[in-house]
Amino acid sequence: MIKLSRVNKQYPNGYQALTDVSFDVADGEMALVLGPSGAGKSTLFKLITRIEKPTSGQIIVQDQNLGRMRESKVPFLRREIGVIFQDHKLLLDRSVFDNVALPLIVIGMPGDEIRKRVRAALSKVGLAGREQDLPVALSGGEQQRVGIARAVINRPSILLADEPTGNLDESLSDEIMDIFRDFNRVGVTVLIATHDLRQVERLGCRTINLQQGQIVSAPPREVG
C-alpha cells in the first residue's frame, strides 16, 4: 500500500513541487497519476522511492513510514519497488542481460538463478533472445521493455512508471501499458504517471489528477 497524507515538497531553490497532497493506492491496485509536465508527478515518485524527503507530511509505503526510515534501510525499500522511467535509465555500455540482471546482482543472487530469471523476464516483455544486445541496438520501445524487465525482475510488490510511454507511438504505448496491466493482474500494485488521456479510457483504472503540485481530483478507491 502507498499512502500519502498532507505531503508538501519544497526544493532547496524554493520551488514548491507538491502542496498538501493526500491519496492512497491499495495493494494490488492500478492507478494513473495524470497531469501536465511540471505538475509534480516525478517529485511524487521520488518521494515514494525516498530519493527525496517531503518537507512535511507523511508517506507510508508497504507499512513503512518513509519519514522515519533510516538511510541504511532505504535500499531495502527500493528492492520492493520497481521503477520505470521515460528515459529508461539503462547502462548503455552493458548488455541487455547485464541491465536486467542488475537488481539481482545487487541482492547477491546466485548466477544460475539470475540467468533463469533474466530469461523469464525478457520473455515476458517480448525480448527473448536479445540478452547479448547492447541497448543502443534496440528501438525506443524495446529499451522501455528492458527497463520494465529490470523493474520486475526482483518481483517487487509495487511498480512505479514515470511517463513510460512518453516517447512511443500509440501502438507501442498500448503494448507497454498492457504489460503493466498483466503485472497488475498477478497482484502487483501499479502506479503510472502519464499525460496520455487515451490510456485513461483504455485501462479504465482510477486516476489521480495533479495540477501545479496539487491534487485536483482523486476519486476514492473502491473498497471491497
Binding site: 522511492t49 530519493i51 541504511s72 535500499p75 531495502f76 525499500l77 527500493r78 528492492r79 521503477v83 535509465k89 539503462l90 547502462l91 542488475l102 537488481p103 546482482i105 545487487v106 541482492i107 547477491g108 543472487m109 546466485p110 548466477g111 529490470r150 526482483n154
Partner: protein, 304 residues
Amino acid sequence: MVTYLTRHLQVMLSALGAMQRNPAISLNTIIIVAVTLLLPLYLYIAVQSGQQLSDSWQGRPQISIFLETEVADREAALIYDEIRLHPAVELAELISPSQAMVEFRALSDLGEQLDLLPDNPLPFSIVAMPHSGHASREHLQRVEQELQKIDGIDAVRLDLAWTDRFNALLALVTQVATVLSALLVVGLIFIIGNTIRLLILNRRAEIEITKLVGATDSFVRRPFLYYGALFGLFGGLLCLALLGATALWLQPFIDQLAASYQGSARLYQLDMADIATIVLIAIAIGWLAARWSVARHLQQIRPN
C-alpha cells in the same frame, strides 16, 4: 558464503577490467604509487644497511691496549696473560712491536721514512675482545678503567665515539625517513583518492541506477575499494621491481667504495617478510585512499 566470495571475485575482476579499459589513468597512478613508495624505501634500506654495518662493529667491540715502551717481552707476556684471564675478556691477542711495525708499514706509505728510524718506536700492544655480555658501553668503560690500572699499561683505547656518531646519524636518518614516509603516505592517499574520484565520476550514471534498484552503500563502494587496493598492489610490486633494479645497479659502486676501505659491504637485502610488508602497506594505503575518496564523493551521487 561461496556466492559472497564469488561476488567479491567478480567485483575484483571487474575492477581489473575497468583498470585495463582506462590504461592511461591506471598506469599513471601505479607509476606514481611506485615512485612515491621508492623514496622512503631507499631511506629504509640505507638505514638498514647502516645498521648492519654498525651491528658488525658493535658485535665485535675491540679494546686496544698499548704497553709502556720500556716493557720487555717477558713482562709483556705476563700482562697479556693477566688481560686474557680477565673475566670480561673473551679473546686477546698480543702484538709485538715488530708485528705492529709490519702492519703499520703495510697500511701507511711511509716505508722509506720508517727505514730511517734507528730502532722500532712502537710498543707491545694487546687487542682484546670482551664477552658479548660485556659489550655494552657501560661495561666496556668499566673494563677500560680496570685495565688502565694494570702496571705496564700506558694507554687503553676504547674508540666508541665514531660508532656513536654513526649511530646518531642513523637515528637522524630514521627520523627523517619516518616523517618523510608519513608525508608521502598522505600525498599518496590524495593522489589515489583523486584517481578514485575520477573513476566515480566516470561511473556516475551506473552508480545512480544501481542505488535506484536497491544497492546498499557497501555494494556501491566495493568496486572502488578494489580499485584502490589494486592500485596499491601493482604500485607496490612495481616499486619492488624498481628497488631490485636499483640495488643491482648500485652494488658495484658500493663494492668499489668498500674496497677502498679494505672492507666489504652489501646493501640490505629485503627478505620475504619485508616484501610482504611493503606490498601489504601499499595495498592498505590504496584501500584507505579509496575509502576516503568514496566516503567524500559517493554520498554526493544520488538517484535522480
